[in-house]
C-alpha cells in the first residue's frame, strides 16, 4: 500500500464535500426534532431531492434551479409526513419509514430516464487571495458555494435556536406541547414549519449528491446517508455546533476509506465500504453510554399531540 498517494490537503478538502449532504440533512432534522417531531423519512426526502434536483437541473440547465426544486421536493415530501402525523396523528416511526420506502420507489420511477446522464456541476468559488493561500486556500476557500451555504445554514440554525424568540418557541414546543398549547402557541403550525424546513434541507442534501458530489443520478444513490444524518443528530445531542462536528467526522471517515481503497490498502474493499456504517454504530454506542437513556433529547420527541389531551 502506498499511503503517500493520500494528500492531507485533498483529504480535508474532499472531507468537506463528502460531509455537506449529511450536514444539510442533519441540521434540518435537528430542527425538526427540536420541535418534538421524529421524522425517520430523511432518506426518502433526500433521495427525492436528489432526483428532482437532477431532473430540474438537467431540463433547465440551471444548477441553482435544481437545488430549488430539490428543496421544494423535500419540503413537499416532509409535509406529507406532517399532515399524516400532525393532523391524522399517525405513528411517527411508521410514517417516517413509509416516507423512506415511498421516496426510494418514487425517485427510481421518476429518474429512470436520467440514469447515466451528466449535468453541469457547480463551479468552485474563486475567492481571489484567500483561495491562493497555501493549504488553507485549497482546503477551506475553494469549494463550491453549497459547501458555504451548508455552513451558513448551520450557523443560522444555531443562532436561531439560541437567540430568537421563534427559536425559543420552537424549543418550547418540543419540550412540552401541552404547556406550549396552554400558553396559546399553535403547536401544529410550529411543527409543520419545522417539518417543512427539515424536508427542504434534506432535499438540498440529496441534490448535493446528485448535482455536485457524484454528479449523476443512480437509483438509491443516497445509500443510507439519510439514516446517518439521523444518527448524527443523536450524536450531536441536538446541538447545531456538534452536528457540524459529527458530519465532518463522518465525512472524514467516508473520504479516508475511499482514499485507502484507491491507495490499494490490503484491507478488503467490503470492510472499507462497511466502515462508515460500523463507525456510526460505534459512535452511537459511545454516545448512548455517556448520555444515558434519555440524554439531551427534547422531552416530547416523537410523542403525538392531540390538543384536547
Amino acid at each position: 500500500m502506498d499511503l503517500s498517494v493520500i494528500s492531507p490537503t485533498l483529504l480535508i478538502a474532499s472531507l468537506m464535500v463528502a460531509a455537506t449532504p449529511i450536514l444539510l440533512a442533519a441540521i434540518g432534522e435537528m430542527v425538526v426534532e427540536k420541535a418534538g417531531v421524529l421524522n425517520l423519512g430523511v432518506e426518502g426526502m433526500m433521495i427525492m431531492g436528489a432526483v428532482m434536483g437532477f431532473i430540474a437541473a438537467h431540463e433547465t440547465g440551471g444548477v441553482w434551479l435544481g437545488f430549488a426544486a430539490a428543496a421544494l421536493a423535500g419540503a413537499v415530501m416532509a409535509l406529507l409526513f406532517g399532515v399524516l402525523t400532525q393532523f391524522l396523528l399517525s405513528n411517527q416511526v411508521a410514517t417516517g419509514l413509509a416516507l423512506t420506502l415511498f421516496g426510494l420507489g418514487l425517485s427510481a420511477l421518476l429518474g429512470q430516464g436520467y440514469v447515466g446522464i451528466k449535468v453541469d456541476s457547480l463551479a468552485r468559488l474563486d475567492m481571489g487571495v484567500l483561495s491562493d493561500l497555501p493549504f488553507v486556500g485549497r482546503v477551506v476557500f475553494s469549494h463550491d458555494p453549497m459547501v458555504y451555504v451548508s455552513l451558513a445554514l448551520c450557523l443560522g440554525v444555531w443562532a436561531f435556536l439560541r437567540f430568537s424568540r421563534a427559536g425559543l418557541i420552537l424549543r418550547a414546543v418540543g419540550e412540552s406541547h401541552d404547556a406550549a398549547h396552554a400558553l396559546g402557541y399553535n403547536v401544529r403550525r410550529v411543527r409543520l414549519l419545522a417539518i417543512a424546513f427539515g424536508g427542504a434541507c434534506a432535499g438540498l442534501g440529496g441534490a448535493y449528491l446528485s448535482l455536485v458530489r457524484v454528479p449523476q443520478w443512480t437509483d438509491g444513490m443516497t445509500a443510507g446517508a439519510g439514516w446517518i444524518a439521523l444518527a448524527i443528530v443523536v450524536f450531536a445531542s441536538w446541538r447545531a455546533e456538534r452536528v457540524l462536528i459529527g458530519a465532518y467526522l463522518f465525512g472524514g471517515i467516508a473520504v479516508l476509506q475511499l482514499n485507502l481503497q484507491t491507495a490499494g490498502a490490503r484491507i478488503p474493499v467490503e470492510v472499507l465500504s462497511a466502515a462508515p456504517y460500523l463507525m456510526t454504530i460505534l459512535v452511537l454506542v459511545l454516545i448512548s453510554r455517556r448520555a444515558g437513556r434519555a440524554g439531551q433529547a427534547p422531552a416530547d420527541l416523537g410523542k403525538p399531540f392531540h390538543p384536547a389531551s
Binding site: L89, L101, Q112, L230, V234, H306
Partner: protein
Amino acid sequence: MIALERRVAPSRAWQAIAPLLAVLLTMFAGGIMFAALGTDPFEAIRTIFWDPIFGEFAWYFRGQLLIKAGPLILIAVGLAMGFRAGIWNIGAEGQYIMGAICGAAAGLAFYPSESALIFPMMIAFGALGGFAWAMIPALLRIRFGTNEILVSLMLVYVAENVLASAAVSWLRNPDAVGFPGSRNLSRWDAAANPELIAGTGAHWGVLLAVLVVVAAQIFLTRHLMGFHIRLTGAAPLAAAFAGVRPARLVVFCLGLAGALAGLAGLFEVTGPAGQISIDFASGYGFTAIIVAFLGRLNPIGILLAGMLMALTYVGGDNVATNLGLPIAAISAFQGMLLFFLLALDVLANFRLRRSIGRRQAVTSGASPSRSVEDAPLGGAAE
C-alpha cells in the same frame, strides 16, 4: 367544518375496513400515477391485481405468489411482535442476508456430502445467523440504551458488504471460472429446498410461514409473554408496573424477528434464488415492514397482507414486461399503500364530527386547526 374526536375505544370495524379502503385508494392514486407515466391505468391495475390470479398464465403466477409471500410473511410476523412492543427492528433485510449466508456457508462446508442431516443443519444455521445479527442491536440497546432503529439499519449496509465479499471471494463457486456467486444450492439435493407440490410454489419456507402465523396468533392472544408484548406497546409504564422486564422483551422480539428473517433468507437461497450472489438481497426485509403494518401487526392479517403484497410483486413484474413500466413503480405503489393505511388508521381511533353550526356568541372565526381543540379527552374532567 370537520373535527376529530377520540373514540372511547378503537373501532374494530374501522380497523378491519381500513386496509381494504387503503388498497382501493392506492389503486386509484396508482392509476393516476400510471396514467401520468403514459400507461393505460385500467390495464395496469388489471395486470397487477387480476391477471396473476385469474389471467391466462395464472397457473404459473399463482405459484410465484406463494414464493414471494412466504418470506414476506415469515419476516413480517417477527417484525410485528417487536413493533407491537415498541421495538423497532427495521434491519430485517440484513438479518435475512446473514441468515442466508450462514446457512449456505454451513452447508457448503460439507459439499458434496449427500447426508440427510445437511438441510436441517443449514436451517439451524440460517436461523442462528439472523438471530445473531439481530442480537447486535438488541444487546447494544439493553446494555447501552443505543437506538435500535439506527443500529439495525446500519447493519443492513454492513450485511450487504458481507454478502458482496461472500459472493466474490470466500463462498464463490470454485468450479465456476471468473463468475461471482456460490455453488447452486437448489441443484444440490442435500441442500435444496424444493417445491413440495409441483406448480404451487410452496416450499418448506411457505409451510413454515403458515405454521408461524398460527403459532404467533396463539402466542399473542393466549401466552403471558404475548400479553406482555401487547401491554408494553399499549402502555409501557403499566407494563413495567406489571413486572415486564424490557430487556427480556427486547432480546425476545429482536431475536425472534432475526431468526425468522434468517430462516426466510435460508429458504430463499436454497430454493428460489438458488445461490449466494451479489444481488441476492431483494428488499423483502423492507417490504415486510409494510406487510406488518398492512396486516395490523396481527399474524392473520399479515398472512393476508403478505399475499396481497406478493401480488403487487408478481403483478409489478408483469406490468414491467408487458407494459414497459419501470420495476421501481411498484415500490412507489407499495409505499403509497402504507401511506393510505396510516392515514386511514386515524378513523379507527378518532371519529369525524361535523362541528355544531356557528356559535352565536363567539364571533371570532374558527380556524380549521383550532376546532379539534374543543374535542374532549377526559371530557370536562378537571
